[in-house]
Point group: C2
Chain length 289, copies 2
């Protein structure tokens, strides 16, 4: 359960050094973008990307632009999900949410800006054969779109109270799982890996996305407020359908264990030195925040 904090640090340093295209008069916008982007967190998506590069025998630094973009897209989605018209959340990672700190209009634009600058960053800076960079960015935009993050958030705000386990799984697979999966898949595409390798890693990555969400739902019930950076129980107060509310805490915990085992089994079929990816899977299962 040793989280690769060395990779996390590389991501944090890279994000902190990003220019974000500051220009005359837009410093306030960049400030709001940075406020949310540099609010901390485990950086699971970019760390997954770096660890995947490592597993494939490449220098993790080679995929930093792509990794940073994954975190920027994730941050953009958090900012928009927190908006008053959506989840109306006041706290995120222990700090006021972006719209609480900068106003709703600036928060909408900060999210929009992070999305645009994330893609620009990869297209402008990510090294690799153009066809591979293109495939990686295509994967990233698919994960962010209607069959990914945005579609999942739509399912979340429209889901009936009596949602079944299958629909719940699809909701989270789109909303959270797809981008976590893309954090692995996009690196395989960038590296030009062959199809058997892509399939094995994809099975791992997709299951990891499921695992992440189940644990997230459990932590919302059992977690410590200070450690979470937001009040626990917020899912229930928002009337959200979670693995715990639909299946109960005990079954959710079992499911987390099963999902973790499946992810590890898929990883065992994947070529390369996947030890650090296995550690990330273990961390996701046992994390307390």
């Amino acid at each position: 359960m040793t989280y690769p904090t060395d990779l996390q640090r590389r991501v944090d340093d890279y994000l902190a050094g990003l220019g974000l295209n500051d220009g005359p008069g837009t410093a306030g916008l960049s400030e709001a973008m940075r406020y949310s982007l540099l609010a901390g967190g485990k950086r699971i998506r970019p760390v997954l990307a770096l660890a995947t590069a490592e597993a494939l025998g490449r220098d993790p630094d080679d995929v930093l632009a792509l990794a940073a973009a994954l975190e920027m897209v994730h941050t953009y989605s958090l900012i928009h999900d927190d908006l008053p018209a959506m989840d109306d959340d006041d706290l995120r990672r222990g700090k006021p949410t972006c719209h609480r700190a900068f106003g709703e209009d600036v928060a909408i634009l900060a999210g929009d800006g992070l999305f645009a600058e994330a893609l620009f960053l990869v297209l402008d800076r990510q090294a690799g054969p153009p066809a591979n960079v293109l495939a990686a960015v295509r994967e990233l935009t698919a994960a962010a779109g209607v069959e990914g993050m945005v579609g999942g958030q739509y399912l979340d705000i429209t889901a009936p109270a009596e949602i079944g386990p299958e629909d719940l799984r699809r909701l989270h697979a789109l909303k959270t799982g797809r981008l976590i999966g893309a954090s692995v898949d996009a690196v395989l595409l960038l590296a030009g890996a062959d199809e058997p390798a892509r399939i094995a890693y994809h099975r791992f990555a997709a299951e990891l996305g499921v695992l992440f969400q189940i644990v997230d739902d459990i932590l919302d019930v059992t977690g410590d407020d200070a450690a979470l950076g937001k009040p626990s129980g917020s899912d229930a107060r928002h009337g959200r359908r979670t693995y715990v509310s639909v299946l109960g805490l005990e079954r959710a915990r079992e499911l987390a264990g099963e999902s973790h085992a499946e992810a590890r089994a898929a990883l065992a079929q994947a070529p390369g030195d996947t030890r650090r990816l296995a550690q990330i899977a273990d961390y996701i299962l046992t994390r307390q925040t």
Copy 2:
């Protein structure tokens, strides 16, 4: 002043046939995206892209994916700009704005979804050498980002009442001009045009963006409500800084003429058969809606 309605029709047909990645449960989201995307309009950005392809001796149909993406990015920006936290507009192209028709939460996601699907569309379907496609999409994301559309909208919501002509020009150059410019520039990049050609077309496209906004501001004061699809005078009611409010109607009209002359002069230096692009410039100067 003959607008190339044949190109406009090709764009409309292509947009109407787009799949937008419909999946189980997200039909309502796609409906909101289509509602705004298919609300009509002159399709100036994609028509510019097609006319630029034509000027370079290529089949306009070859750039339809890129052209459609430009309109989708434009539509996404309109949806977000209309939101209650931003301009709080009720009407757009004669119909209720997206958030009036579908709710604020769905409208935010419809905008986000259009942006993601726009980029996915180009990366998935636009033919051309990967390096060129990549350069074109990079241009599109730059035009949408902090040094483009999003930055311009931020300048707009934060601009002081006593903004000067230079700052006003920069505001609009980012908010509107950059994406109009990209509608031409991205096609040059896709075609792998040489630098002298790119520079000449860029000068034309950048000036066309300025011209478009000046005329837009004039029409808001002088235009007919029904033809505009929204009440005229809405800029003044919103306290917006416009070319007319800052410079007066007469000077704004002079400036439109000067800007048009500059755009035509730049176009005269550009290689290729640029007659239809010249017609678009003439149309933008003399349009009544």
